[in-house]
């Protein structure tokens, strides 16, 4: 099982924010992103597999870890490095972990964070830490103090997600987060290399 999480920034895709996904991911990989999660809920399985295979080839060139959201079958067929699960997703116990696949989970509470660790997930994504348009419907953000509590309560890497920009990324890491996950800030960036440099400066490494 691969469990060493040596990246600190996960770039999560959303082609609704920028339809030219391939170009954005290519730029991000070229600028040093170490982990990309394909999260395209609107795509059919057929389209998702096609996209995942294209991005697999791309990510390989820069040694970027490729994650698929939710679909274990697509992760296997595209040779992804990891699988990222929503709270209603599959568990590590469901699959044969000999297949060296990193498994992460989204959590929205301290209890869920502890449970994810107990269930054998390699890392968690906790959020939304800050206000973000995508998650407004779920109510108030969690805030830095809750993030800190979660980080102090589990022994697996915690990535902060939700409204993360370079300044906030620094605060998250100071609160104990191993790293951050970014969607909007990169998908909408007019200069991806510069945005990534800013993140790197804020948290030490990508």
């Amino acid at each position: 099982m691969k469990s060493k999480i040596d990246f600190r920034l996960i770039f999560i895709t959303n082609s609704k924010l920028n339809p030219d996904l391939y170009r954005v991911v290519k730029k991000a990989c070229g600028a040093g992103v170490k982990a990309v999660q394909i999260r395209e809920k609107e795509l059919s399985a057929k389209e998702l597999l096609k996209l995942a295979k294209r991005l697999r080839i791309l990510a390989k060139k820069t040694n970027t870890e490729l994650f698929i959201n939710d679909r274990y079958d697509i992760a296997l067929l595209s040779n992804a490095d990891g699988l990222h699960l929503p709270e209603n997703g599959i568990l590590p116990s469901h699959i044969n972990r000999n297949k060296r696949i990193i498994m992460g989970r989204s959590v929205h509470s301290l209890m869920a964070a502890r449970e994810a660790e107990k269930n054998g997930f390699d890392y968690i994504l906790f959020g939304p830490v800050f206000r973000t348009p995508a998650k407004i419907k779920f109510g108030s953000p969690q805030g830095l103090s809750k993030l800190e509590k979660v980080c102090n309560s589990v022994n697996i890497p915690v990535f902060a997600v939700g409204g993360i920009n370079p300044q906030r990324a620094k605060k998250c890491v100071e609160s104990g987060a191993h790293g951050i996950a970014v969607i909007r800030e990169l998908m909408l960036s007019p200069n991806i290399s510069k945005t990534l440099r800013d993140f790197k400066e804020a948290i030490g490494s990508l």
């Binding site: 399985a45 057929k46 597999l49 274990y72 079958d73 296997l76 067929l77 599959i90 568990l91 469901h94």
Partner: protein
């Protein structure tokens, strides 16, 4: 590989809210269906695994074949008998890499060409339709009709399971084309007594 059923009931909770997936499977098995297809596109994986596990147990007891729509991963995890893949799902040959040759993979086709493609891609059966006007799914195309079905049955070697608007009234005509079996949704889940509806269809095969 488990035997491909001739009377397949597809669970559906979008065109009706009275019954759950498990309810439909239970009534279908009681009525004599020999294949159940779990179709729950909107459902989260963990719930799907639970429901698939429950239905699979019921199917094993009665020697009924159990397949899952779209989700190859859920079929792997629950050890279901196979999957049914639509044209927008994972390609059949890719699914075969994950499931091996002992699992059933069914494909969807709406024309002779698509049926040929599915056959060449390694489908174990083809769901062909829609034969009659159906209200289960929004279908922009015209129904295929019996004549077209007959031609497909003649030209395609893998079993053809007819789907779309099949009822107790027209099931006899459908089976007279020489097709392998039928798949039903509305005529079962919308019936006042689904188990009885399945029993009626079973007699027509």
């Amino acid at each position: 590989m488990k035997k491909i059923g001739r009377l397949c009931v597809i669970t559906d909770t979008s065109i009706q809210k009275k019954y759950t997936h498990v309810d439909i499977a239970e009534m279908a098995i009681k009525g004599g269906a020999d294949m159940i297809q779990l179709r729950a596109k909107e459902m989260g994986s963990s719930e799907l695994i639970n429901i698939a596990g429950t239905i699979l147990k019921m199917c094993i007891k009665k020697n009924v074949t159990f397949i899952i729509n779209d989700r190859v991963d859920i079929a792997m995890i629950t050890d279901a008998d196979g999957v049914h893949l639509g044209l927008r799902d994972i390609p059949i040959h890719e699914a075969r890499r994950l499931l091996g040759k002992n699992k059933i993979i069914g494909g969807t086709a709406h024309s002779l060409n698509e049926a040929c493609d599915a056959q060449n891609d390694g489908a174990n059966y083809i769901g062909y339709g829609h034969i009659y006007t159906t209200y289960s799914k929004h279908k922009p195309e015209k129904p295929k009709g019996i004549k077209n079905l007959k031609e497909v049955v003649k030209k395609i070697e893998v079993p053809i399971i007819a789907i779309g608007g099949i009822t107790i009234e027209n099931a006899g005509d459908v089976m007279s084309t020489g097709c392998y079996g039928i798949a039903v949704i509305s005529s079962v889940v919308k019936a006042s007594d689904p188990a009885k509806a399945v029993r009626g269809l079973k007699r027509m095969l």
